[in-house]
Amino acid sequence: MRWLDRPAGDTQITHRQRLWLYALAGIIMLLLVAPTIIVIPMSFSASQYLEFPPRDWSLRWYEHYLGEPEWLAATATSLKAGLLTMLVATPIGTMAAYGLHVSGHWLARWLFILLITPMMVPVILIAIGVFYAFVQLRMVNTLFGLVVAHTILALPLVLIVVGAALKSYDFNQEMAARSLGASRLKAFLTVTLPQIRFSVVTAALLAFLTSFDEVIVAMFVSGGDNSTLTRNMFNSLRDQIDPTIASISTIMIVVSSTALVLAQLFGRSKS
């Protein structure tokens, strides 16, 4: 226990004197993860009230989820929307990030702000705006419309992540490639992209998650056959505490965590 009396910082304050801070931080960290983690074992509880720890273990809520065609359809919709959003937002976001970074035009800064706006504006506003537009365009309750709306929400993340990668990227390499005979596009594809690819993959994963987890816009814009998982979950939550949602939540936690771990792995292996 001697480490307790060793200095913990530049001011020579000891660990012992800081124990209160460690304890407090520990509690907060626990409170941050506990609710999310606890849902997982709770979803295996046989009881209607989702006990922890579960007195009887059971898969009934999972069976309920898998047995219900509505839930499965909604899951499929969410996955499709997520993948499509990822496939659309990542390239156009990366293109935008690159173009705005190298343009040197004064307009670039303003366009960047424009593209970031969906992140700064309350989502409810975007939701009703998009809903209104789709009503006019007859795109409500279509997968296409949902993907377009989610793309708008995902773009800021793509721009920020890829933008940050471009900021720390050594553009001399692109210059070298061009001096050796590569056109701008070729230089980007053969030299720049391979080096920012980890950030691009991270951005793609974040775009997926943004769409997969999104509730409010989906609430307005997806419905009927194209209702998303989150929309159904939200509607059912407003009524009563449906324990099936625990199993769905667990699945979503696993999906999110996997995406997060993948993103971290990619990010770390770069450096």
Binding site: D170, N172, Q173, M175, A176, A177, R178, S179, L180, G181, A182, S183, R184, K186, A187, T190, V191, P194, Q195
Partner: protein, 363 residues
């Protein structure tokens, strides 16, 4: 690799402005075919801007650049067919050494077998034979530099541009590489434009030096003439060590401290001039002075030992302080100098250089 063809470069009226500031101010410059020309100047002088204009990465506001007969100022960089070596090497970390060096050949759709052969040759030329499979991050600074060089010459460009390629290396390695680069140039023969702020480097490597300041060409000459016959105060000051003495001019005669000076060469023009004294050109006179020596009397103020040479600061009887630099060989009169000694300094008429006072004169 055997010698390649080379092209002359013709730069005319190149101007580049950033707001109010002229990065390049109507620069005219002719680079001879096959020569090693250095653009020398302090940071912000415009030398790198000029190099970038040659490469095509900086678009000038106006002017003309010709490689041989071809006007290329409107050509995009990837069609100019010049080799370029960057200050921080700019090697592609996601490719091996061979991948890097072969990159320009792949772009030019050269056959695979030939690529391998030419990459091998290029690596041999830069003394890195067998390094093909290495990863870039396993190389030392000097090795990275060579790979960058190999990559820039493998496609046999007729013009080679280098942007302070040695500045990231330590002193010993840098001096070694200077000689190697020079030898490489002699072997390959391509026109080379080299940018540096290190005047010693410029003097070592160049056929001619173009001194640049404030976006303007100060002087274009062989190293010896730049050093011995600087065209203006800036060039005199920037290259080598210098002390300037005010002298009175009367037509073709020049006086200092009331006495006439023996000058071998007068600069052009009529304006006021200063006498440039280089510390290593002063001699410590003992006894009779040989012919052609200008004499200055003074008193030693301080002596600074610097290992291979020492500097003696001498306050002249007729005014300012000058520095005298000489070797620290034991037993010489210089070696026996100490503070307070009265000395007579000599400056040979060939070493007595006059420099116009308004430093911005162009040549």
């Amino acid at each position: 690799m055997t010698g390649t063809d080379s092209l002359p470069i013709s730069i005319a009226g190149i101007t580049k402005r950033y707001g109010e500031v002229y990065a390049l101010d109507h620069v005219d410059l002719e680079v001879r075919s096959g020569e090693f020309l250095t653009l020398l100047g302090p940071s912000g002088s415009g030398k790198t801007t000029l190099l970038m204009a040659l490469a095509g990465f900086t678009r000038p506001d106006s002017g003309s650049i010709r490689f041989g007969d071809r006007e290329i100022v409107l050509t995009p960089p990837h069609r100019r067919d010049v080799g370029m070596v960057f200050q921080n090497y700019a090697l592609f970390p996601h490719m091996s050494v061979a991948g890097n060096v072969g990159y320009p050949l792949r772009l030019r759709k050269v056959a695979k077998a030939e690529i391998a052969a030419r990459v091998g040759q290029a690596l041999e030329t830069v003394k890195l034979a067998g390094y093909g499979e290495r990863r870039v991050d396993q190389l030392s600074g000097g090795q990275k530099q060579r790979v960058a060089l190999a990559r820039a010459i493998v496609f046999r460009p007729r013009i080679l541009l280098m942007d302070e390629p040695l500045s990231a290396l330590d002193k010993q390695l840098r001096e070694h590489m200077q000689i190697e680069l020079r030898q490489l140039h002699e072997r390959l023969g391509m026109t080379t434009v080299y940018v540096t702020h290190d005047q010693r480097e410029a003097l070592t490597m160049s056929d001619r030096i173009a001194v640049i300041n404030h976006g303007r060409l100060m002087q274009l000459d062989a190293p010896r003439r730049i050093y011995d016959r600087p065209a203006n105060r800036f060039v005199a000051d920037f290259i080598g060590e210098s002390t300037f003495l005010d002298v009175e001019r009367d037509g073709d005669t020049v006086r200092f401290g009331g006495r006439g000076l023996d000058i071998a060469w007068m600069p052009e023009g009529d304006g006021a001039v200063q006498l440039l004294i280089r510390p290593e050109r002063l001699a410590l006179l003992t006894g009779d002075a040989p012919d052609g020596m200008n004499r200055f009397e003074g008193r030693v103020q301080a002596i600074v030992y610097q290992g291979d040479t020492a500097l003696a600061y001498v306050a002249l009887a007729d005014g300012p302080e000058v520095a005298l630099r000489a070797g620290t060989r034991t037993g010489t009169a210089f070696d026996r100098l100490s503070r307070g000694d009265t000395v007579t300094l000599g400056l040979h008429r060939d070493d007595a250089v006059l420099v116009p006072v308004d430093g911005a004169g162009e040549r």
